[in-house]
């Protein structure tokens, strides 16, 4: 068994306090990695319970009240405590300073505070669960949440409110770090696309999150003090809530997917050994998505009772936001063209991303299309669509990134065969879970239904079967990655022979990342320049 010899960020200090009081962005990233994985496991357990209940048309496993709490907790944990922080807080935290040649974030203490705030928000959510849970759906629609629900709305909402600050501070930290801490020579258009994507996502975190925070406070005020804001019985307007909620919660999808696209660009470049085709288009499409993403929230409300003309405007804007996503996919394809492609685990995940994101994106057109949305809104069609983007897309990229940077993070390689195997299992399980849901959705099965008419059963059985494969697929990496910490092959500084500042330093990196200040003299992904 080989050992890693020298001093690095992991063995630089032992004991719980050296972790819980660390200001090192890499150690904070590991704190996030462990806690986000726990949240994912919990959210996944709720998903498995939901799929088991839906195996039969009758509501025969749990009570309706329990079922409603299960899908609510699944949504809240997965959205606010896993998908939103996953890539930025784990991979972004670890890599962003290194990629721009910095020793740490601009505000290391704020970075640690973000993790504690995130944990405090999680604690509130756990307390809410211990006290009986919440049954409003992760969307907290009023006046159900503000007046009618008899569950732990206030504590859960506070949990989401608190976690929002973690997101805001992380976004702020990224923005300031990217603006002020780039190494000499690291100009804006030499930044890895991973950094561009995080820049765009950070803009949304900083600008969007306060809106959902305010909205949640308003719900709490109505619930506690009967201030008439959203409940018509008190003189409020329930559609106002939906506008405020989706003003954040639609862009929140881009907080998840933009960093995933950033990971994708790194993977595609490394494993085809080419500079990303149309670098500036891929970079600026991230910004375009961030800006346009703020203008499409009303497409969640085509049948909400908002004006028909508002529906028309939000529809056309939603189609426009599809274009920058298409640009990215086509540029990745062009990068593969005449590349030198090796199908190692991270690249298999990247291909999986392209597959699932393409299906998710194309089915998004069905939903942006007004007349079809009228039929499929609030059915399983939409459940399938957003899982393709938020789970299929984001987790494929997340796991691809984890595998790609695992040697950098831990100093050791993961077992390649198991890596490929789990990527294929996840891809198959995912499609088997969610493809049938498009069909059952168009048939008319509404979402959030504890029981359903019998003719929907076969499709639901397929979906549950897929979910069990998917569950196993997600568990395999957990085992072999932990195994690799001790038994994995020592990776060395650059096992992929990749470009990028993170591959110029030892694995695992020393606490201060770089010996001196690195000087950047070449473009990002500077592969194949020996031809010139």
């Amino acid at each position: 068994m080989t050992r890693l010899q020298r001093k690095h960020y992991i063995n630089n200090g032992y004991g719980a306090l050296s972790w819980f009081l660390t200001l090192d962005h890499k150690r904070i990233a590991l704190l996030y990695l462990i806690t986000a994985t726990l949240f994912f496991a919990l959210g996944g357990a709720f998903a498995i319970a939901i799929r088991l209940e839906l195996l039969t048309p009758a509501g025969d496993m749990v009570q309706s009240e329990t079922y409603n709490k299960m899908f609510t907790m699944h949504g809240i944990i997965m959205v606010f405590f896993f998908l939103i922080p996953a890539i930025p807080a784990v991979l972004g935290n670890f890599l962003l300073p290194i990629m721009i040649g910095a020793r740490d974030m601009a505000f290391p203490k704020l970075n640690l505070a973000s993790w504690y705030i995130y944990m405090l928000g999680g604690l509130f959510t756990f307390v809410a669960m211990a006290l009986g849970g919440v049954d409003t759906g992760w969307t907290f629609y009023t006046p159900y949440s503000s007046t009618y629900a008899n569950s732990q709305v206030i504590i859960t909402a506070l949990g989401v409110f608190i976690t929002g600050f973690s997101s805001i501070l992380t976004g702020l930290n990224f923005l300031v770090t990217i603006h002020t801490m780039r190494a000499p020579g690291m100009s804006w258009f030499r930044l890895p696309l991973f950094v561009w994507a995080h820049y765009a996502a950070s803009l949304i975190m900083v600008l969007g999150t306060p809106v959902v925070s305010i909205t949640i406070i308003l719900v709490a005020l109505e619930r506690l003090f009967h201030l008439g804001i959203f409940d018509p019985a008190l003189g409020g307007d329930p559609i106002l809530f939906q506008h405020l909620f989706w003003f954040y919660s639609h862009p929140a999808v881009y907080i998840m997917i933009l960093p995933a696209m950033g990971v994708m660009s790194e993977l595609i470049a490394t494993f085809s050994r080419k500079r990303i085709f149309g670098y500036s288009f891929v970079a600026s499409s991230s910004l375009a998505i961030a800006v346009l993403g703020f203008l499409v929230w009303g497409h969640h409300m085509f049948v909400s009772g908002q004006s028909m003309y508002a529906g028309l405007v939000f529809s056309i804007l939603s189609f426009l936001v599809a274009i920058p996503s298409a640009i990215k996919v086509f540029n990745w394809l062009a990068t593969l063209f005449r590349g030198s492609i090796s199908l190692q685990t991270p690249m298999i995940y990247a291909f999986g991303f392209i597959g699932l994101f393409t299906i998710g994106g194309l089915t998004g057109l069905f939903l942006a299309c007004l007349a079809v949305d009228v039929h499929v809104h609030d059915t399983y069609f939409i459940v399938a669509h957003f899982h393709y983007i938020m789970v299929g897309g984001v987790i494929m990229a997340y796991l691809g990134g984890i595998h790609y940077w695992w040697p950098k993070i831990t100093g050791r390689m993961y077992p390649e065969w198991w890596g490929k195997f789990s990527a294929v299992v996840i891809f198959i399980g995912f499609n088997l879970t969610f493809l049938p849901q498009f069909v059952v959705g168009y048939l008319g099965m509404p979402r959030r239904y504890h029981f359903y008419p019998e003719e929907f059963q076969i499709l639901n059985v397929l979906s549950t079967a897929g979910a069990s494969i998917l569950g196993i697929g997600y568990m395999i990496p957990l085992f072999y990655l932990v195994w690799s910490l001790r038994y994995g092959k020592v990776a060395g500084p650059n096992p992929w022979n990749a470009k990028g500042l993170e591959w110029t330093i030892p694995s695992p990196p020393p606490t201060e990342n770089f010996d001196g200040t690195p000087e950047v003299t070449e473009e990002a992904y500077n592969y194949g320049t020996n031809h010139a």
Binding site: D135, A149, I239, F277, S315, N331, D373, R447
Partner: protein, 315 residues
């Protein structure tokens, strides 16, 4: 609802086939682009597989013409979908003027429908085939959503105001009716059936229950009971405006604006009388909020609707 394992819903309204055509177009488009993209990914992966000790390929920085091509073509395609979907949406949301009106009230966790002829029903909706039908909807508590998959339409049902859904059934039969907006514990139980009948059968069904008064008749009694007629008389000096022929007409307000006196306007005028004042009248009407139920409201509205002057042109 015959097949044990359907893959496609029945189409039983005038616009169901239009929605399906658009849906199939989108599926064809999605399959085309999915095959194109996956096909290229796999082809490139094998065609350009890395060879041992191969040199890195030549970099390709980008190409403006290509970028424009794959921006503009998707843009044009999406604009076609937008216009197609938008026109059909306009049709789905705009009931024809001759649509027959039914009222629907959602509450945790049941649907109640009121036919003007006086028959009410719970979790069932009977409608005649071939006739445009509009359901005016409201909720007594939280948000609900009336969803009829076979008609390819749905609409949220809100407390405090009316929304509407319309369709022309084209096929007799029984179809699902769901609540599609999560509304609490028994959300999945808030479902029922829509029965589409021949006009003759429908007429028979309407008359099937004895002792039911027409809604406008019940409404007239309520109108008296709440003493509405003390002010709303057909005389020029009455304290409130005349209500004859007011339904769906344009009303001039004291701020110079005109509004259409539809169900939502009448509802607001009863519950929040100070919100919109008809020109020439004082804001003296007291609110009936809290004194009048949703059911009574629609009955009074149905009565007001019945007050027609044959000689007057009504828009």
């Amino acid at each position: 609802m015959n097949s044990k394992f359907p893959l496609f819903p029945e189409a039983a309204s005038s616009f169901a086939h239009h929605v399906d055509t658009l849906y199939f177009f989108l599926i064809a488009l999605s399959v085309f682009f999915s095959v194109l993209i996956f096909g290229l990914v796999l082809f490139f992966a094998f065609r350009y597989k890395r060879k041992p000790n191969a040199e890195d390929p030549k970099p390709m920085l980008g190409d403006l013409r290509l970028e424009l091509t794959w921006s503009i073509i998707p843009l044009l395609i999406t604009m076609v979908i937008f216009v197609w979907g938008g026109l059909l949406y306009y049709h789905q949301l705009t009931p024809p003027a001759n649509a027959q009106e039914i009222f629907g009230i959602g509450k945790q966790w049941m649907w109640k429908f009121y036919h003007p002829e006086g028959r009410n029903e719970i979790n069932e909706l009977h409608v005649p085939v071939g006739r445009p039908t509009k359901v005016i909807l409201t909720s007594e508590d939280v948000l609900h959503d009336l969803f009829i998959p076979a008609f390819r339409t749905k609409m949220d049902v809100l407390p405090g105001r009316y929304t509407q859904i319309w369709f022309t059934p084209t096929k007799t039969g029984t179809y699902h009716l769901f609540c599609a907006e999560y509304c609490g514990t028994k959300h999945a139980d808030m479902k029922g059936t829509v029965t589409v009948m021949s006009p003759l059968e429908y007429q028979g069904w309407l008359n099937g229950e004895l002792g039911q008064d027409r809604m406008d008749k019940t409404g007239k009694e309520l109108f008296k009971q709440f003493a509405c007629q003390t002010c709303h008389q057909d005389q020029s000096l009455s304290r409130g405006p005349s209500l004859t022929g007011v339904y769906d007409s344009m009303v001039l307000l004291n701020n110079g604006k005109t509004v259409k006196a539809d169900a939502d306007y009448l509802r607001e005028s009863i519950l929040k009388p100070k919100a919109k004042i008809v020109q020439g009248y004082d804001a003296i009407m007291p609110t009936y909020k809290g004194q009048i139920s949703e059911e009574q409201l629609i009955q009074i509205i149905e009565y007001i609707k019945s007050l027609k002057e044959p000689q007057k042109e009504v828009n």
